[in-house]
């Protein structure tokens, strides 16, 4: 089967998802609720890509969308990037204490959160539920209620006999890993590193930088490019 990935025709296996194809050809798509060892779930929607062209193009979640012959996929079109940034903003507003989310925000160059922070401790990505069910075979936790009241818990909110206290659910949870506080007082968006000037190489000529990617460098490059464009 053949698809067009960011303008290049590539061969893909029939049973791949768009995310599988992108990964195989080295295109990085940010994901959050996807994990190689678990079934895809489509909760976070960060992995969106644009398929089709012109007016008929639409955004789909690449972790769930199967490849189709001749399909045209753009992984980083303007529309995709804009939507992705918005999603991360919303997620951070829900859970600003998560390191995983803050890292995503830095990587996407988000500098402002336009929504009110809620300080929730779960983003309902469902990773813990799938981990418990598919890898630990315990099925101790799950989603209960719905809408704004939806949450993760054990049956009847009491200690579950099925739980083997393996800790896998905590291990995989993107919200449980707390962010670094940074040198400045905590704000909704951490991005402490974004505010540094490139710390090392310019100032200390002999120092090698092993940070890859260093957000400060990335940001600096971006600004230089902007300035260069204007000239």
């Amino acid at each position: 089967m053949e698809i067009t990935l960011n303008g290049i025709k590539v061969q893909v296996e029939d049973d791949w998802t768009l995310l599988d194809a992108a990964k195989f050809y080295g295109v990085k798509i940010p994901t959050l609720c996807y994990h190689e060892g678990l079934s895809p779930y489509g909760a976070c929607r960060l992995c969106i890509v644009e398929i089709g062209e012109g007016d008929k193009s639409k955004l789909v979640t690449s972790c769930l969308y199967p490849v189709q012959d001749g399909i045209k996929v753009r992984t980083h079109s303007q529309r995709v990037v804009k939507a992705r940034k918005l999603l991360v903003e919303l997620l951070i507003a829900r859970c600003p204490t998560s390191k995983v989310l803050q890292d995503l925000a830095s990587a996407l160059g988000i500098e402002k959160i336009r929504f009110k922070a809620r300080y929730n401790d779960c983003i309902l990505c469902g990773l813990c539920v799938r981990m418990c069910e598919e890898q630990m075979d315990a099925k101790a936790i799950g989603f209960v209620s719905r809408g704004v009241k939806k949450r993760i818990t054990t049956p009847f909110d009491i200690k579950s006999e099925k739980c083997r206290t393996c800790g896998a659910c905590i291990y995989i949870c993107p919200a449980c890993l707390l962010r670094c506080q940074g040198p400045e007082p905590p704000s909704v968006l951490c991005s402490g590193c974004l505010n540094f000037s490139p710390p090392c190489v310019d100032q200390y000529k002999d120092v090698m930088c092993y940070l890859d990617p260093c957000v400060a460098c990335l940001k600096d490059k971006g600004e230089n490019m902007k300035k260069g464009g204007k000239k």
Binding site: E133, S145, P155
Partner: protein, 162 residues
């Protein structure tokens, strides 16, 4: 209704499950039947259902909390529904609600100790002109205010005692 003793009535639960061929596709029907029988879904019964159908308890709990029609707590003899829809809200439904809460000493979705009342809220009962509306056991009481609701409640409490 004594939740404690009834909920251990496993033959009745087993009969319900059997009626649906012990098939997990009928989980919702089974839960509906249990709810119809006891007015709520007792925990022990759900554990029994999980065991019999061979599905995780958490899955049943998810379903039971997803649908508003299911209740996990025993319901009182009378169900009070206070409308908090827009029309009733602007006419002071909040005040009526807090009056009921105070008088019965329960919160929304709770049941009084004597199992006489369960308090619920809804968003519009479709009779906005009569707002604020308090519905008890399907009967609408319109133009409620804090004094009127007191006498309405009294009527239902005495009825129960007779």
């Amino acid at each position: 209704m004594q939740g404690e003793t009834i909920s251990r009535d496993f033959p009745a639960i087993d009969a319900i499950i059997k009626k649906y061929g012990e098939r997990k596709e009928f989980l919702i029907c089974i839960l509906q039947d249990i709810q119809a029988r006891y007015g709520y879904l007792p925990r022990e019964d759900l554990e029994r259902v999980a065991e019999k159908l061979g599905i995780p308890l958490i899955q049943i709990y998810s379903v039971a909390t997803f649908f508003k029609a299911f209740s996990l707590r025993p319901k009182g003899g009378h169900t009070i529904q206070v409308c908090l829809g827009t029309a009733c809200h602007v006419r002071g439904a909040e005040r009526v609600l807090s009056k009921i809460k105070r008088d019965l000493d329960i919160d929304v979705d709770e049941t009084t100790k004597d199992m006489n009342f369960t308090l619920k809220t809804v968003n519009c009962l479709g009779a906005c002109a009569l707002g604020p509306i308090v519905e008890i056991d399907g009967k609408y009481h319109g133009n409620m205010n804090t004094t009127k609701v007191e006498s309405v409640l009294k009527k239902y409490s005495t009825k129960m005692k007779e």
